[in-house]
Subunit: 490 residues, 2 copies
Amino acid sequence: MTAYDQLMAYQRQTEALAQVAGRLGWDQETVMPRGAADQRSEEVAALEGVLHARRSDPRVAGWLAAAEPRDATARAATRLIRRSFDRATRVPADLAQEIARVTSMAQGIWASARAADDVAAFLPTLAEVIALKRAEAAALAQGNDPYDALLDDYEPGATAASLGAMFERMRPRLVALRAAVLGAGHQPQALQGHFGSDGQLRMARDLAATFGYDWNRGRLDLAVHPFSSGGGSDARITTRVVESEPFNCFYSTIHETGHACYELGIDPDYALTPLGAGVSMGVHESQSRIYENQLGRSPAFTGWMFGQMRERFGDFGIATPQAFCATVNRVQPGYIRTEADEVHYNLHVMLRFDLERALIRGDLDVTDLEAAWNARFAADFGVAVDRPSHGMLQDVHWSVGLFGYFPTYTLGNVYAGCLHQALRAALPDLDADLAQGDTASATGWLRENVQRFGGLYQPREVIAKACGFDPTEGPLLDYLEAKFAAIYQL
Amino acid sequence: MTAYDQLMAYQRQTEALAQVAGRLGWDQETVMPRGAADQRSEEVAALEGVLHARRSDPRVAGWLAAAEPRDATARAATRLIRRSFDRATRVPADLAQEIARVTSMAQGIWASARAADDVAAFLPTLAEVIALKRAEAAALAQGNDPYDALLDDYEPGATAASLGAMFERMRPRLVALRAAVLGAGHQPQALQGHFGSDGQLRMARDLAATFGYDWNRGRLDLAVHPFSSGGGSDARITTRVVESEPFNCFYSTIHETGHACYELGIDPDYALTPLGAGVSMGVHESQSRIYENQLGRSPAFTGWMFGQMRERFGDFGIATPQAFCATVNRVQPGYIRTEADEVHYNLHVMLRFDLERALIRGDLDVTDLEAAWNARFAADFGVAVDRPSHGMLQDVHWSVGLFGYFPTYTLGNVYAGCLHQALRAALPDLDADLAQGDTASATGWLRENVQRFGGLYQPREVIAKACGFDPTEGPLLDYLEAKFAAIYQL
């Protein structure tokens, strides 16, 4: 066996064990008995220990040094393994363990603080998490920008400087769009009525199938916070049901279907190799968002959905497909990111991005975080935060150390905007399909131009290849302005 | 840290990883998408590789040599780790891999052969499995009896010679009881009617609760072949539903509840140590069987169950608790072990035990196996096997290399007989409780006298301590003869 073959045989088992860790996470969020939590944390820690030891095994360095990759696929695979090895070896083991210990504890402290709207109860722990993440970032950065070193875990190749510049270009247009929409005389109707749990879940399953989800390699379950999980030939989705708000269930399902279809759409030859997973959080989010928004909330598709909902749930107080499309795309002021519409969503993300960069740089102290959050919120959203659980305590991310993750949400939206422009150019008759509830041409285009490549190209590279142009915020903003001008008769 | 502390810290992670393997097995049999099977087999193999490497790690030998266990618990823990290390290191790695490869493949070949009633299609593979298991047994036995070395994996300390002698004492009494029961003029009624799936599952859940199952640390799902899985604070059960045969669902549930309650009843201080799991297959089966049969099929408990079923399912053609008890305990000729009643069950096991001993010894060639099976079946059961799927192709065990497992089923029944005798002596008013659907005194006695010890004592030792006498077949046979004499008016 050549060094490359040895490396890949070894890596295959590491990838298989990483899949096992994914199964364990799915189990924990869907079916695990409540009383199993403490034991489960030991099970997860033991498996993570095995994975870390494998990723940082000195033999990997030796094989990498001796490997002679023969083609682009092999070069991409060795590049990804080297990246994983570098990350695993640059952070001292005792620091990694301390981060695992503190963030595991911090999540519970954050949840209690949020429930009690008590910022002070969370600040000492948050300060500890930030200090540890700054140490980790310094170890990873090797003299470069520490925040970039954290960001790189979720979005290889992205930099805070370029994302920050793009966000600054986006922000005024979004703030203006928000003001115009909320200031318009027109306001779409709300849904009325009761939408039974069984009926919602049946429709959720049908929506997943409509978007091409492969039930032979997946399943749908309930979870408190919907997520997708796994890859290769086992990529599962979850949703939740609120009986008065069926869109919550339906669009969570379509969103997670987008994530899962990305994993399931990857070239099967890449299974259990470093190329066999979505290449970054941003590209992943581009798939979930384009399924959910540009396709799932389009006038053509919502027209079909209107008929489906009338058939299944009877009269729900909305008379026409046009009115229904407006309701699906209703823009409402709100404090909570996860409930935000397409106009507000990216403003939430930018707020967090600027604050977390300042925290990691050391320019913002945690004691000043609440004031900074509330000031920025008032500036961008036009209202004052009424309580910390609607403000800086709303998201789990910082408590578990996910610094650098937030910007990938907006990057995903930007990528989705680019892909949507290219998709529309390639498929001029798409609306006729969507109006029939047929997404095959669109999802097929995405599979062919994005999904199948897995980790073969760098994130921006795969989007640029698919679109024929370098990704930029323009298409997303154009799409948002046109869409909401039409709905709100601006 | 002392060598003992280092050993136990290391072992704790191994135990946690073994629990992960258990979760993966549960997932596979209950919720895994059909198309995930191939990838899953790689995931399982990677995790088994990690476990094998940990169990055979040279550092374990060093710690074992240097460890100075301070008390009985520590001595038991080191004894169990040494046993695991010896088993893991005596079998050459290439042989272990070859066994894993061949048995994984053999299971599919067996399933197809059974479906087609085609013995010849299975024989070459079976011969290969047997050859490999004989090699493994020779490596493990180190000059002692090879079959005992295989048996030892499931029932530490048991020998084929002593089990064989006991089975020879049991067999004539069971054959005679079977003949008497089937020859009696009296024959209990069969159940009539339709028992809806939801209603069966609701009653199954209530039965598990009745037997003390802790829902905070477990759950009930459907599986093709019911099983229990996991331990510590996560021990799950499964059942199946056949709408015309509710006893299938109910008694599978009670049986698996017995297994799970054993795991959940172990002293929590033993969690994630070698003492934190049921000590042997025989002791495990004693718990599932005493829950299912000596308690669950007793006249007192079936009286309560009769009322429950009338309330839930209305009239099902049986008028009195006495007639219902007879129906629950109906003895019927049959080819299939897993469907056998208490009278027939052990005869099935003894047949397999004698044949598999001969196969491992080399006294029986696979080409003669079908004839040997059919001859023995005719002798013990009084009828001819009509097709291989009703004969030597019925069980999965041999295809996956489980030689030495079968006898633990009957040993479990023997242990259950002993425990039942002791339990009745300790709880003279038990029937009054059971008649109310209250099993707390019985299950509490079992938890206190058997379950909580986990791996602290040797299998026979824990039964002897609980009963106050050395375990023997007498109590089981006395119980069976008395019970069926009453029901069949012999």
